[in-house]
């Protein structure tokens, strides 16, 4: 249950949230398993969903911490959250508006 990095091959532009740059506007495609959370992984996924990280939801990357760009801050449904890279890597996203480059 770990090999599927991108569950949905149709989304060519899909990426994991932790790979996205600051200022990007993104749409959630789905949640991926994360082995770092071990047996808690399912619970972490549920909590992410409860906080609004559901397929279709739009979010924006607003910043990164100093050391290793960790944690990152995102805004979803008008609420800002701080996520570590480990959590962000669970969230599969696609870019919504391309504002120059990439």
């Amino acid at each position: 249950m770990n090999s599927a990095v991108f569950p949905d091959a149709r989304h060519a532009a899909s990426a994991r949230l932790d790979q996205c740059r600051k200022g990007a506007t993104l749409r959630v495609i789905g949640l991926l398993p994360q082995s770092l959370f071990g047996s808690n992984d399912e619970q972490v996924g549920l909590r992410l969903k409860e906080l609004g990280f559901l397929p279709g939801a739009q979010l924006k990357v607003i910043g990164f911490g100093l050391f290793g760009g960790d944690p990152m801050a995102v805004q979803i449904n008008g609420t800002k959250f701080a996520l570590r890279r480990a959590e962000a890597a669970k969230i599969c996203v696609e870019e919504v508006t391309v504002t120059g480059g990439r």
């Binding site: 959370f37 911490g65 100093l66 701080a82």
Partner: protein, 629 residues
């Protein structure tokens, strides 16, 4: 499926004059506590839940036809919990806490500017089929952002009353009270427990419903106010943000020491005058001795630190209410993770600067048990406000009031250094305890709430609560310890042919001389040893204990000069170092015992801190003695 443990007798007793019980539940940062303060006014009571040390804030709601008690539950996102404090909220609602009846009515508080997240919890609560009122809080902020909500329609579609509230404005609060007045009876069979089986609806299905509710009844512009985002670009900037954070902390500590001094000095002078007056009026004798050297020197010596403690709590409350603290947690998460902690441990640790007891209790918001354990272990290394009197006394006696680099005063810098020593030691201890074993990671998932202006009334209530707790300590523990100490220092009196000061013949003198050999390597004299004993009850009593053993009644200045003439500088430094580490104060040890629920951990906690204190004081004494001579 309904729980089987019905308890009809308790229910029938309850239905008499017992007050109705309402409970407030909502997301963290939804303004629940401000609303709670408005509903209960001055009458909030802070206690612990039976068996668990989470603060239980309750109060009677004023202006209702029936007596009604309101409870403020810990903030939670979901009934499917991930942290110990969310567990308390859940257990309380379901009636799973021994000795706490289930509430008659739930008031779900939802931040109107953060509707979806709040409504999701309300949907869960609604499925419990309990009386439920929805309070749409922060309506003023929502209107300012151009959000309009059709509350009547929302209420009809959700099947529960919906009230708009603004915590600063009594209108919404009155409407809420009016709605509460409709509930006059206890629910039948109220003591039975609820059971919450697995999720009946998927998260997706709940959000679909919320989406259609929002589409039907809410219009909201897409963007947050721009100043919020601009502020975040600075405050959460990796480099600028850290600079802002350190500047804020420096200002806080500078203010606590420099701004509070004039007030403290005038209070101190007041106690000096009072002592002098009593000395003149009363005839010489045991009563005068008792009042001047026992009560005024003891209690007065501690009360003068009230301005500093108020200032410190004021800053913490302001930073918390404005929404800034979680930004600090965001910035510090990565560095703290290297120590086995996380951004989540930042807030308990910051509270520990005021007092380790609420700090240790606040660790309940940490889901990772290992991280929670480490946070508890290092929380007392954060300099609590009870240490401030001791530091302040010794600093003002030994460190000259000098201006350094134009703006800083040397005393303030020394104080900052002591706080800093505590923080660095906490980092080292956490790092040692971290133990890199292969274990599961826990998520951070921290909400960064919108900035808002702290509400004066809410800050006032919070501050008054803390002042009250401090004054209660002064009136109980500190007063009684002062009396006991005065007694020990006065009896038995010196024999007629005595050549040395009378106190050396007293019980206190004997006690001190027994302890002295143990502390001699640290340079402590017997007076200092004695002061350590009552400081176990409350650290700040060390000040009044010193005042008593040195028989000084003229206030802090007089005590300072007495210390200055009898301690050398290395001794003063060693005493400060002892207080940075020592797990003085029984209440901290007790709360660690309750929170870890383990004798072994508590023993580890006590022994390691005393060991560290001894070592640090010894090293400080030896090194500074070498440097000075």
């Amino acid at each position: 499926m309904v729980g089987s443990r019905l308890n009809q007798t308790a229910a029938s007793i309850d239905s008499g004059n017992a007050p109705l019980r309402f409970a407030m539940i909502g997301n963290p940062n939804c303004g629940k506590t401000s609303l709670f303060n408005c509903l209960t006014g001055a009458r909030a009571k802070v206690a612990n839940y039976p068996g668990v040390t989470v603060e239980r804030r309750s109060g009677m709601i004023s202006g209702l036809a029936n007596n009604a008690e309101l409870l403020d539950l810990p903030g939670t996102y979901s009934l499917f919990v991930t942290s110990p404090d969310e567990q308390v909220a859940r257990d309380f609602i379901l009636g799973n806490i021994q000795g706490e009846a289930r509430p008659d009515l739930l008031i779900a508080v939802v931040d109107a500017t953060n509707l979806r997240l709040g409504l999701r919890l309300v949907m869960e609560l609604r499925s419990l089929n309990r009386p439920l009122i929805l309070a749409l809080n922060q309506m003023d902020a929502a209107r300012k952002r151009g959000i309009t909500i059709d509350t009547a329609g929302l209420s009809q579609d959700m099947g529960i009353p919906v009230i708009e509230t603004v915590a600063v404005n009594s209108q919404g609060v009155d409407a809420l009270k009016h709605e509460l007045d409709q509930y006059t009876h206890h629910q039948a069979g109220d003591t039975q427990r609820l059971t919450l089986s697995d999720r009946q609806e998927s998260v997706e299905a709940i959000y679909d419903k919320i989406e259609s509710l929002v589409r039907a009844h809410v219009t909201q512009p897409a963007n947050m106010p721009r100043w919020q985002d601009r502020l975040d670009q600075v405050v959460m900037h990796p480099v600028l943000g850290l600079m802002v954070l350190f500047s804020i902390l420096l200002v806080v500590f500078q203010a606590v020491f420099a701004w509070a001094t004039p007030i403290a000095d005038s209070m101190d002078a007041g106690f000096g005058v009072l002592g002098g007056l009593l000395t003149q009026i009363l005839p010489a004798g045991i009563l005068r001795e008792f009042l001047v050297n026992g009560i005024i020197a003891g209690v007065g010596g501690v009360i003068v630190f009230l301005p500093q403690i108020i200032l410190l709590f004021l800053f913490i409350l302001l930073l918390e209410d404005s929404g800034y603290l979680t930004r600090a947690a965001f910035l510090l998460d990565r560095p703290m993770r290297g120590l086995g902690l996380s951004g989540r441990s930042f807030i308990p640790l910051l509270s520990s600067f005021a007092c380790a007891v609420p700090g240790v209790m606040a660790t309940r918001t940490i889901s990772d048990p290992r991280e929670r354990f480490i946070t508890i272990m290092v929380a007392p290394l954060m300099t609590c406000s009870a240490r401030l009197p001791v530091y302040a006394l010794i600093i003002s006696a030994f460190i000259p009031r000098q201006t350094v680099a134009g703006i800083f005063n040397l005393q303030g810098l020394t104080l900052f250094g002591l706080y800093f020593a505590g923080v660095v030691s906490a980092a080292l201890v956490a790092w040692v305890m971290r133990r890199r074993q292969t274990r599961e990671e826990f998520p951070l998932l921290l909400e960064l709430p919108s900035y808002r202006w702290p509400m004066a009334y809410h800050v006032y209530i919070g501050l008054r609560e803390r002042v009250w707790i401090f004054m209660r300590r002064v009136g109980t523990i500190i007063l009684s310890l002062s009396i006991i100490l005065w007694f020990l220092a006065t009896y038995p009196g010196a024999p007629a042919e005595a050549t040395r000061p009378a106190i050396e013949y007293s019980f206190a003198g004997m006690l001190g001389s027994w302890m002295e050999p143990l502390f001699a390597p640290l340079g402590f004299n017997w007076q200092m040893c004695i002061a350590l004993i009552p400081a176990m009850g409350a650290r700040e009593v060390a000040v009044s204990a010193l005042a008593t053993v040195y028989a000084v009644a003229g206030g802090e200045l007089a005590l300072g000069s007495a210390l200055h003439s009898s301690w050398s500088l290395p001794v003063a430094f060693a005493y400060l170092a002892w207080f940075v580490y020592a797990p003085q104060c029984i209440s901290t040890i007790a709360v660690v015992k309750r929170e870890t629920n383990s004798l072994k951990s508590t023993a580890l906690f006590t022994v390691y801190l005393f060991g560290l204190a001894y070592l640090a004081a010894w090293v400080t004494y030896q090194i500074s003695a070498l440097l000075i001579h």
